[in-house]
Subunit: 227 residues, 2 copies
């Protein structure tokens, strides 16, 4: 398999990436097509679809290898299941698959870039295929969630005033809805299954480091620093 595209994503670090695609609508990425797959003809007609499949390699998992059994976060991190009963990156062949919203296809000069949202893709991820999402085949009406029901969040979020100021300026300069992205990422609770309350965590989105802590049911976004 060889890469057909490279991901440029808001998730420049693994911590904070949503557990599945679609959970953070404000999470955007672009797929930069690589030669010889960067000809506009190769994506012609794709714009007719609202969503697309992105198939990729969990490139940061390769060095650690695969495991027969894993501890999915949805089971609290303390129960093991088979790797094929999970979507863990530590899997044979390290193949990832995400359905994302297609925002725009830009073809200019020799470059083709596909802009998408709702991603759970790490920056610089190698993409090995792109296909249209076809609901009548990809959404079986009677499919159930097994041990992975939709996550629910009861966390509220509070931003420190200087964080709000920074986000507003960042959005004006960069055109990236940073505050919304922080809010959606944190209300999905990116902390590991085993965690201490009150502990301060750092998270990187785009080129910004965000410090937060959870107190009871409230997330406090304490500070932001450009990297």
């Amino acid at each position: 398999m060889e890469p057909i595209a490279i991901v440029r994503s808001c998730f420049t670090d693994k911590f904070g990436i949503p557990r599945q695609a679609g959970l953070v609508p404000a999470a955007t990425a672009s797929l930069e097509m690589l030669p010889p797959y960067n000809r506009p003809e190769a994506v012609q007609g794709l714009e007719a679809f609202s969503h697309i499949w992105v198939f990729f390699i969990f490139h940061q998992a390769v060095a650690r290898g695969w495991k027969n059994m894993v501890r999915p976060p949805r089971l609290g991190g303390n129960k093991r299941v088979g790797v094929f009963a999970s979507r863990s990156p530590q899997r044979p062949n390290f193949l990832g698959s995400s359905v994302v919203r297609l925002e725009e296809i830009v073809a200019e000069g020799s470059g083709v870039t596909i802009h998408v949202s709702g991603v759970d893709l790490l920056d610089r991820t190698p993409v090995v295929d792109i296909k249209p999402y076809v609901p009548y085949s990809d959404s079986p009406a009677d499919a159930d969630n097994g041990f992975a029901p939709p996550p629910t969040s009861s966390l509220d979020i509070i931003f420190a005033p200087e964080v709000l100021d920074f986000c507003q300026h960042y959005e004006e300069r960069q055109g990236r809805p940073l505050q919304q992205l922080i809010s959606q990422v944190l209300t999905n609770d990116p902390r590991p299954a085993y965690h201490e309350d009150e502990r301060e965590y750092g998270l990187t989105l785009w080129d910004v480091n965000i410090r937060f802590a959870v107190h009871g049911k409230t997330i406090m976004v304490k500070s932001v620093r450009p990297l």
Copy 2:
């Protein structure tokens, strides 16, 4: 990428394979796990899910190579779109993905076999990954079908009396619902977009060759022969 399993499927020939997974519920297959992936632990917990993703290589497409543009059957076979706007097997990396119903997981001795239905998988297809289907992530509520709306069939089917006899005996001997499978495959109209009415076609399902022709809106199943 290396195979983790091999498909044993009712589709022993490419002609007749449904255009997408899920269209032919009677189409069954088993995924025979290969060493070192054939340990029961590796699939433990998968039985909690009703549907699974099967990722595979379009192995019969590799020799022909990939194309920048293809003619999808859903556009009548006369309009071209980019390969990434299609699910054509003639694609870079030759990666296939199908959601199928999980029927049963059988682990005995050193073997693990996963029985599935609703397949669009060719016999002997190499499988490179298996994952649970998770509706909240894999079924975006607002996804639309682009240029691939659900197929509708207005074809009726008539079986010659000797075909019905054969199917009944075959089902008793092999435990395979052959008549139902023939019916579901043919009402999806497997003929190429350009076809002549009245022409007789041959189709192979399991180890049986089936001859049929379409007259107006009626499919006539004329004969069956064991291979």
